[in-house]
Each structure stands twice: as C-alpha cells, then as structure tokens.
Assembly symmetry: C2
Homo-oligomer: 205 residues x 2
C-alpha cells in the first residue's frame, strides 16, 4: 500500500478510506497484512482524486459513477448520461417560460436530448434566475450553444479514439474527461473574464 | 415579511435565516413586530437564492460576495476578482509542467491576469489531472480560450450597459451574471455533449 500511495500520490489513510467505502477494489492478498495492487488501482485512485478534488463531487456521487464505469452492460452513451445526473446540482426551480425557451432552443438546434436530462432543468433554472436578477443575456443562448456543440463533437471524438483501450479504461477516461474538461472550461472562462473586465474597467498603469 | 416572501418566492423561515446570518439587511421597523421591506430586499433575496441554489455556493461565500457588492470603495473589476475567489474550488494541487503550460498560454494570448488568480490554479490542476488520467486534449486549450474570450467580451459589455443603474444594482447584476452564465454554459455544454455522444454511440431508432 505504501507503494500504491507513492505511485498515485494519494496518502495511505485516504486509500484506506476509499477501500472501506468501496470506491477502490481490494488488492490481491499476498500475506496476512500485505496485498498486491496493480496499474488499475493507480488509475482508479487518480480518477477518484480528480472527481473529488477538482470536480468537487461528494463520495456518494463518485461511488455511483464508478459503479456505472465498472458495469459492462452499460453503453458509453448511457454512462455519459449517468455521470450528468451525478454531477448535479439537483434540479433547481425554474419557471414555465424558461422551460419553454429551453425546449424551443433544443428543437431549433435539432439536438436529441432525453426529456429527463437534468441539464434541461439546470439551463431553465439559470435562465429563470438571470431574468429575475435582471442579468442581460450577453451573446445569446444560440451563440453559446453552437460554440459548445462544435467543441463537444471534438471531445467525444477524442474519447472515442481512446476507446481502442479496454472498456474500463475507455470509460474511466470518458468520465475523467467529462468532469475535467468542464473544470478546464470554467477556469479558462474565468481567466477570459478577468482579461475582458480588465480591458474595460481597469485604468492603464 | 409575508409580502416579501410572496414577492421573492422565498419561504419566510428562509428569509429569517438570511436575516440572522446577516445576508439580508433588516427592514425598517414600522411597529414592534412589523418591518417594511423594499425592492432592494426582493432583489437581494433573488440574488441569494441564485447563488445558493444554482451556484451551489456555501452561505459563508455568499456573505463574503455580498459584502463586496455593498462596499462602494471596491471597483467592479476588483469585485469580479473577489467573486472568482469565492467561487472555488480551493486551489487543487497541480504539477509544475501544467503550471508552466498555463503561464505560457496566458502569455501567448496576451491576457492580463493577476499572478494570484485562483483560475490559474484550477486550470493547471485540471490539466495535470487530465494528463494523469490519460484524457485526450480535445480541441486544444487555445481553441477553447479564444472561443471563451469572445463570449466574455460580449458579457462584460452587457454588464457595463447595466451599470447605468445604481452601483449596487450594477454590482448585483454582475455577480448574478457571472455565476448564472457559468451554470448556463455548463448546462448547454452537457446538452451539447449528450447530442454529440448520441450521434456517435447510439443506434438509430
């Protein structure tokens, strides 16, 4: 376990906690107090850390996601869907006008989205709250949607190229990619905002 | 208070909690058990709900953000920065290679970003974790960065147009816009991914 901790960069106490919680499968026992861990354990530990530290997901959500990663009867598309549910937030309230706007946008774009997709609710709630708070729309929903759709295509394609590996490796990379790309996007957006805000509001030195 | 609850859609018990926590300023006392609330209270309640329910921010972070909104000595640009700090996550660990990559990207793009910006750390940590998890880069950092910078410009401009209102209203709209646009972007991205994943992985009906 000391070796696993060194290779993954995760403290021994944390590894023990993940083992107890069932997030990490036990190693193969080699003696009463020793177990052998393999590359799969190292990969799994890195994935758990990414979901917890960077994705800020609660342990229960990580556990659910990993159960879907390990279930070979689940297609990659359905696994993507499960991850979206687990990412939250729990669908916040939205008014009917905003829900209608979201349905209309999806129809106009021709996107195929399940009616129960939690992202529909999150989008409608964001729009509701923006209207209530008097936030201007900015570039407009459709501009955002089209920019993001082009990026999503490239991402899904790059995950597909990783699918040449074993199913579990492809599934792990897909989950990590989904959560980490989202954080990367948020970070880049905040940086872009800092620069844009500086150009507009900050006096030149 | 019943009237305030009706107008804002926030339950009375929740309003009392926000008053106790100092998130909402007290109304003007009109009798021993009555107080008058104004449009400012309604706006403030909607903002708190948006930050808590949709932004999923802890109460302490909301309190800090509101103190910056109300501090007239803070410029809008510095307030944006404060909100970024409060949005988290706490800077997760990142390796030096990823930090270097982020610094280089920012320099190449010519963005003006403070060295202590928390988004730098989040971006570096996301990149570190993506590399460790074997996640393909997708379209590449620069493609994302440029797409987001164009959107940020339009958003900051639309907040600036709102700045014709009072400072506190402009600040409130800026905070709400920053948090809600981010959630809107995440929701749209997840929808875009569902559609992109469906096109690639799901059999035609």
């Amino acid at each position: 376990m000391a070796e696993l901790s060194r290779r993954s960069g995760v403290p021994v106490a944390t590894i023990k906690y993940y083992l107890r919680e069932g997030l990490l499968p036990p190693g193969a026992a080699t003696a009463a107090t020793r177990a052998a861990y393999n590359d799969g354990h190292v990969r799994r530990l890195r994935l758990i850390r990414a979901l917890v530290e960077i994705g800020e997901l609660p342990i229960a959500a990580v556990k659910y996601i990993l159960s879907r990663v390990d279930d070979e009867t689940v297609s990659l598309h359905d696994m993507f869907g499960s991850v979206q549910y687990a990412l939250g937030p729990d669908t916040p309230p939205a008014d009917d006008a905003a829900r209608g706007e979201v349905d209309e946008l999806i129809e106009t774009l021709g996107w195929r989205i399940t009616p129960r997709s939690p992202a529909r609710g999150l989008l409608a709630a964001s729009i509701s709250a923006m209207r209530a708070a008097g936030v201007p729309d900015g570039p407009g929903l459709r501009t955002y949607a089209e920019a993001l759709r082009a990026l999503a295509d490239q991402e899904v394609a790059s995950v597909a190229s990783a699918a040449a590996r074993s199913r579990v490796e492809a599934a792990e990379a897909a989950v990590a990619g989904m959560v980490l790309h989202e954080r990367m996007l948020i970070a880049l957006r905040r940086l872009a905002q800092e620069d844009a805000s500086g150009h507009r509001y900050r006096a030149e030195p």
